[in-house]
Symmetry: C2
Subunit: 327 residues, 2 copies
């Protein structure tokens, strides 16, 4: 397998934690990694190969302009490594918009794809995670794009999660077809009429269904998807924090909490975004994994493993087929 | 104080739990209550006065058509009781859309209000709840409506939560003014230019800020607001359920969970939607409290207390002033 290109400069904990995670992926799991970044900033890289890139796109930089201007940035060079056949996938915990723009401009879109979308995994207790897309790439969408998101999301659910016949649903504010914004009403009709290979459209779901096993793939525009994703993350964090605070308030409670620590650790892991190793940008001609800005070594190692798994599963080939059939 | 008109027929647990909650509000808290519904279905009403209404609008009925057609429904009669000066407020756990339509058609809009909006309280651990509006009344909104939602939300935050100078923010997918959908970008400009009396517009917030104390009033369209609200509720429920399941899986863990039950009970109450006694429809000429369909006796009693509190605070008078100044 060609190595995974890792943007060593991207993320709040770059380059230290990123390099540590990359080493773990290569040394403990045998996934070849190519670090991309400023060699002078990359210490303790072990046997990992480094592609030099002199610039770094800041976390808050304007994505499009940065990618066009900073041609020697770690993000752009990582995307080029995939385009040029030096790497099989790219992974970054840096500026999300710039990661998308680099992938889109350097790798290009899969033929027939109107807009790439970010697919994120949401935890569902005791069951397979739910795929949410678009979780932030396109703030405004057309009904036709949402249909394609559904087709791509179904492929991802199959390759990433092993769901044989994914149930695809549209995010709305009521189960009835007539509920929702004008976009959602039109998308409902378009999704009902669309062809899904090895998947089925089951209608509308609501926000409360995101973290349940009622559905496998949830389709929405990137604005709503991003709000929903961050709301879920915020709610889980608020409750987890409140729980830990409450447990530390009384000696007997603290002792009981210690007894419960195996259960609490499992829960924390199950609901923590890092567990799922990053989101994936679907629709570009290559595997592009987008990690949280707060990614540490463990999450980076998971993201690299996910990238390798997606390469092996040939998700890009399957997306290409699904979009060709669907259009 | 004039009595609170309670739709005794609305909600999954009507009329039994609704009547029980109404009695509790009157008998234990001294809030006069007027039950509205089919007398033959209302048993054990104690000293509560009953207004007869022969029809019931089903939970899944089409709101506009039902309200126009079912003139002798409990919802329509409850709204008329407020309009006619027999009641000071209405409370319903029934069909949300029909509750809004009844209030809008019978009480009318406050002069200058473009569209009424539903304001919901979100728990923020260790702090005052956050007001979210519109949480579902208007699936599609204009930037100007969002400005008015901000002005009305600020009044509600003051009267309902005692926040002296509420911080109003716009829900988006990034803090920068340039982030978001076309609606959000336009609304940002309009909110920045708008006049707020005794409140301030602090810019964009993201989904992760909903359950924090970073902001007091969050403005959004009814589609996004409803998705965010239900996503937060769903996430909290998923985590709470997973926690309880995990704790019951091992005898030592179960024993520890029992020690922790005071803390867990507090948390459950803090994060449960029933705690805040229902959402309020802002912008109609009367107090209209909208409760969850699953409302039981305790939640109904809380909703009635909230209604009474809002009448005493003269929130409708304050909304009228704020909208007059703002337009």
């Amino acid at each position: 397998m060609l190595p995974i290109a890792v943007d060593a400069m991207g993320g709040d904990n770059a380059p230290g934690e990123i390099v540590a995670g990359a080493r773990r992926a290569q040394e403990d799991h045998g996934i070849p990694v190519l670090l991309v970044g400023r060699p002078e900033d990359l210490t303790d890289v072990g046997d990992l190969e480094v592609i030099e890139a002199s610039e770094v796109i800041a976390m808050d930089a304007e994505p499009g302009a940065s990618v066009r201007r900073m041609k020697d940035s770690s993000l752009v060079r990582a995307a080029e490594a995939v385009r040029d056949g030096r790497a099989s996938a790219m992974v970054s915990a840096g500026n999300t918009g710039a990661t998308m723009a680099s992938a889109l401009l350097r790798m290009g879109r899969i033929s027939g794809v109107a807009r790439p979308a970010i697919a994120t995994l949401l935890p569902t207790p005791g069951s397979t995670p739910t795929v949410l897309l678009d979780s932030g790439a396109n703030a405004e969408c057309s009904p036709e794009w949402l249909v394609q998101f559904g087709q791509m999301g179904a492929v991802f659910a199959r390759d990433r999660l092993g769901i044989e016949r994914p149930r695809v649903a549209l995010l709305s504010i009521g189960e009835e077809p007539g509920k929702g914004s004008p976009l959602v009403k039109e998308a409902y009709a378009a999704l009902s009429a669309a062809e899904f290979v090895g998947a089925e459209f089951i209608g509308n779901v609501e926000g409360r269904d995101l973290l349940t096993d009622a559905v496998d793939v949830i389709v929405t525009d990137g604005f709503t998807g991003n709000v929903a994703l961050k709301t879920a993350e915020g709610a889980l964090k608020a409750l987890m924090t409140a729980l830990l605070t409450a447990m530390a308030g009384r000696p007997e409670a603290l002792a009981a909490a210690e007894v419960l620590s195996p259960e609490l650790d499992d829960l924390y892991r199950e609901f923590h975004p890092d567990t799922y190793g990053g989101a994936m940008l679907l629709g570009v001609r290559g595997v592009c994994i987008i990690s949280h800005g707060s990614t540490g070594a463990t999450a980076m190692a998971n993201a690299i493993l996910t990238g390798a798994e997606m390469v092996r599963a040939d998700v890009v080939g399957h997306l290409t087929e699904a979009v060709a059939v669907g259009s």
